[in-house]
C-alpha cells in the first residue's frame, strides 16, 4: 500500500511539473498568436489596438498572472479558446482530433502486431527456409523506413498517380459519420492509406521480436518434452511456444505506443488525416498556446496513467512489491 501511495505522490508531482512546463515551453518560443493577426492587417492597426487584441485573447498581463489564470481555468477543465481555429473551444477540437488518432493508431497497431506475430511464428518455425530468409530481412528493412517517406510515397502513388484512394480526410465531405454500414465503408476506405503507412514501418519489429523469442524457446526442455510426448506440431507451435513468446511482445507493445504515435502524427500531416498530429503542427506554427498546452496535457496524462496502471498491475502480479504481506 505504501508503495502505491509513494508512486501516486510521485505521479502527482510529475503531473504538476508537466502542466507548468506545458505553460512555459510554448511561451518561450519566439512570437505569439497575435503576430499573424497584426501582420495580416497590413499595418491598418495601431499599437493600442494590438494591446486590445492581446487582451481579448487573454495574452496580456505578466506571465505570472497568465500562469495563475491558466491554473485556475485548468482546475475547471477549461482549456481555453483556440486561436488558429478561433473561437472553437480547444477541448472540442482536441477530442475530435484525438478520436481519429486513437482510431488510426488502434487499428494500425492491432494490424501490425497481428501481422508481425504471425509472420514471426512462421519464420521461427521454418527458420532458414525460403520465407524466413526473404521476409525477415525485408521486414527489418521496412522497419528502418521513416513514416514520412512511406506516407509521401504512398500518397504520391495511390492518391495522385493512380487515384485509388481519396486525398486525405477521415470520410467523404458529404457524409455525416454514424454507426451504419455506409459510414463504416467510407471511413475504412479513407483510413486505408494512413493505416498501411503506419503498419508498413511497424510490423517488422514485431516479426523480428517474435521470431527471436520463439527461436530461443524452441530449444527449451519443455518443447523437447512436448515433442517426445508426440504432441502434434500445431499444438506445440501455438500452445507451447508462441504463447510463451508473446508475453514479452505484449510488454513492449505498451512501451512502443510513444513511437507509434509519433509516426502517426507525421502520417496524419502528410495524408491530411484530421488527427492530433495535424492539429498540433499547425498550432505550433501559429503559436496557438491553448491547443499546444491541452495537447501536451493529454499526452502527459495518458503516459502517466499508463505508467500508473502498469505499477498497479505489477503490484498485483508481483508479490515482492506488496509490503506487509505474508512471506
Amino acid at each position: 500500500m505504501l508503495f502505491l501511495l509513494r508512486r501516486l505522490g510521485f505521479y502527482l508531482a510529475a503531473f504538476f511539473v508537466a502542466i507548468t512546463l506545458n505553460f512555459f515551453i510554448p511561451r518561450w518560443m519566439p512570437g505569439d498568436p497575435t503576430t499573424r493577426i497584426v501582420l495580416s492587417l497590413r499595418g491598418k492597426i495601431k499599437p493600442e489596438q494590438i494591446e486590445a487584441i492581446k487582451k481579448a485573447y487573454g495574452y496580456s498581463g505578466s506571465l505570472l498572472d497568465q500562469y495563475w489564470l491558466y491554473l485556475q481555468r485548468l482546475s475547471h477543465f477549461d482549456f481555453g479558446i483556440s486561436t488558429v481555429n478561433f473561437p472553437a473551444p480547444t477541448s472540442d477540437l482536441l477530442f475530435y482530433a484525438a478520436g481519429w488518432t486513437l482510431f488510426l493508431v488502434g487499428v494500425a497497431t492491432a494490424l501490425s502486431f497481428g501481422i508481425g506475430i504471425v509472420m514471426g511464428i512462421y519464420s521461427a518455425w521454418h527458420r532458414g527456409g525460403f520465407f524466413d530468409s526473404v521476409f525477415t530481412p525485408v521486414n527489418v528493412m521496412l522497419n528502418a523506413f521513416t513514416p514520412a517517406v512511406v506516407a509521401l510515397l504512398l500518397w504520391y502513388a495511390f492518391s495522385l498517380e493512380w487515384a485509388l484512394f481519396p486525398l486525405g480526410r477521415a470520410h467523404d465531405i458529404d457524409l455525416t459519420p454514424g454507426w451504419d454500414f455506409n459510414s463504416a465503408v467510407n471511413i475504412a476506405w479513407h483510413a486505408t492509406l494512413p493505416v498501411i503507412s503506419i503498419v508498413l514501418v511497424n510490423f517488422g519489429a514485431w516479426h523480428l521480436g517474435m521470431r527471436n523469442t520463439m527461436i530461443n524457446l524452441l530449444n527449451e526442455d519443455f518443447v523437447v518434452l512436448a515433442k517426445a510426448k508426440g504432441l502434434p506440431d500445431r499444438r506445440i507451435r501455438y500452445r507451447y511456444v508462441a504463447r510463451n513468446a508473446i508475453l514479452p511482445q505484449i510488454t513492449s507493445l505498451a512501451l512502443s505506443m510513444g513511437y507509434v504515435l509519433g509516426g502517426a502524427f507525421i502520417t496524419e500531416v502528410v495524408l491530411n488525416y484530421p488527427g492530433l498530429g495535424k492539429f498540433t503542427l499547425n498550432a505550433i506554427e501559429a503559436r496557438d498556446y491553448s491547443f499546444i498546452q491541452a495537447q501536451l496535457l493529454l499526452l502527459t496524462g495518458s503516459v502517466l496513467i499508463a505508467n500508473l496502471a502498469s505499477d498497479i498491475l505489477n503490484v498485483i502480479f508481483d508479490p515482492r512489491l506488496r509490503t506487509g504481506s505474508r512471506h
Binding site: 512570437g31 499595418g43 481555429n85 455525416t176
Partner: protein, 556 residues
Amino acid sequence: MKSLLKMTSLVLLGCVLSGAASAAEIDLRLAPSHADAMIENFNPYNISGPASYVQDFAYEPLWINNVWHADKDFPALATSYDIATDLKSVTYHLRPGTKWSDGVDFTADDVVFTYNYAKAHPDYAVGLDFYSAKDDTGSLTGIEKIDDHTVKFDLIRPNSLAHIDIGSLFPLPQHVWKDVTDPANFANKTVVGTGPWTEIKEFSRNSFKLCRNPQYRDNATNKIDCLQFPQLSDNNQVIAALSKGDLDWATDGITDPDKTFTPKSPDNHYWLPADAGTNLQLNTSKAPFNNLEFRKAMSMAIDRQTLLDVATFGLTTAAKYPIGEGMFYKDWIDDKALQPYAYLMEYNPDAAKKVLDAAGFVDKDGDGWRDEPDGKPIAFKMAVPAGWDDWVNTLQTISENLQDIGINAKMETPEESAWMDNIPTGNFDVYIMWTELSATPWGTYHPMFNPLWMKPGTLRNESMHQMRIPAIEADLNDITATVDPAVQKAKTTDVMVQVAQNLPVITLFSNPGWYEYSTRNFTGWPTKENPWARPMSPAGIHERVKVALSLVPVQH
C-alpha cells in the same frame, strides 16, 4: 425505427426532387484559405479564416476597386461616391432598396453604426484609419448621415485617395451587432449579409456551403446556388484536389505547373499574372547599407535572369526599373524618366566591383572579403523563412552573386513565426520582402515611406529599410492633395525616380498572383486574353465576388 424514418424521409425527398425537374444544385467549390478543420465562425473581421469565406461573398463592401482597371470599378453597397472639392470628406450614395438577408432594410444607419462600433471596440479591427490626436496619425475624424441612403466620411486633412480604404469597409447589420458586446470573440453563427451567398448549409469539420441569399438583388442572374469550401490544409492538397475534380478554383503556390498540374486533366488551367513586387529590404540604419555606392553595387551584382528562370521556377516576372516594385503599375511608369536607372537592374559583376573599389570597399585585412572603407569587416545575413522555397532559392543565388564580387553575405532561414516576429524590431541586416499593392502606386509607396513605421519597435514589412526621403514624403502628400491625374502621375514618377536614385530597397522581380482553375464544371474564367478583374481568391481581393458571379456552369 430511426433509420426507417430516415429512409422514408429520403424517399419522400427523392420524390420532391424528381418532381422539381432539373433542380440539381450548382455549387462552386473554392479554397480561399487553408484549414485543418472548419469552425463555426463567420465573423467577417476575424482574419484567421472566416474573413476569406464570408467577406465579399456574404458581406459586401461599399465599393469594389478594380485594381487592374481603375476606370472600371464595381459599385457594391454604394452606387457612387463624391470627393468633396476641399478633399476633406467623401460622400457615399447607398444602393436604395437593398435588404439584409433576413429581410431588414439596409440604410445609412448601418454604415454609421459600423463606424462608431469599430471606434468603440479597438480590438475589433475593421481597417478604418481613425484619426488619433495623440500622435497626429490616421485620417478619419467622423461620419455623418445625410439621409437614409447617403453618408459622409470626414477627414482630418485633404486626401483625394481616402476613398480607396473607406470603400472596402464591410458594413455590419446594426440590428444584429448592436447586442454584441465582445465582437472580437463573437462567432456570428448566423450570417446576415447583403451579398449573393449568405445561408450556411451542411456545416461539418470537412466543409460547409454558403448558399443563395433570398434577398440578393441579382438573384435572377446569379447562376450559382452555393459556394462550397472544402477543408484543405496545404498547397499540395489544394492542387491535388483541383486535378482530381474535387475543387474548381484555387489560389495556391505551385511549382512547375506544366509538368505537375496541366497534364493531369484537360480541364486544368492556370495563369500567374504579375502580382506584388519582391525586394531586398536593407537595414539602412547601419553600415554598410547606409552607403549608396554599396547599395548600387549590390543591385548590379544580382543575376536577376537566374532568379527568374531557375530560383523561382520561371513563374515570376521581371522588374524593369529599380523602383521598389515590378511592372504592376505599368500605366504609371514613365520609361523616359526611369531609363537612366535601368542599368542598376542588369547583371554586371565587373561594374559592381568597380563601384565598390572606387567607394573604398576593398579587402583590407586580407581575408578574401571586402571591408568597409574604415577597415571594419563586412559580413551580413539575409533572412527568409525556412520552407519558402522560391525565396530561399532566390537568397541562395543572391548570396552567391554577392560572394562573387567579394561581399561576405550569407543566407539564414529562421522558422516562419520567428522571422515574422522579428520584423518590427529592426534587428536585422537584410530581409526579402513583398510590397503592398493597391489601386494606385500611392498605396505601395505610402507604407514604404511612412515615417511613422520607421521607428525600430514598430517597423512594418514595407518600411523595414528605415530610410526617410523627405522629397518622397512631400510628393506622396501632394498626390493626395489633388484629384488631377496629370499632377498625380508627375508626382508618382518623381517618387519612382527618387527610389531609383536612393535605392532604399533592392528591386528583384514581381511575384506571381496564384490562380488555378478547372473548366470541368464552370467556364468563363478570366484569362490572360481577357483580364477584366484580378482572378485570385484569397481574402482582400474584393474582385473575387465579381469573378464568381461571372462564371458559367457547364451543362453535364
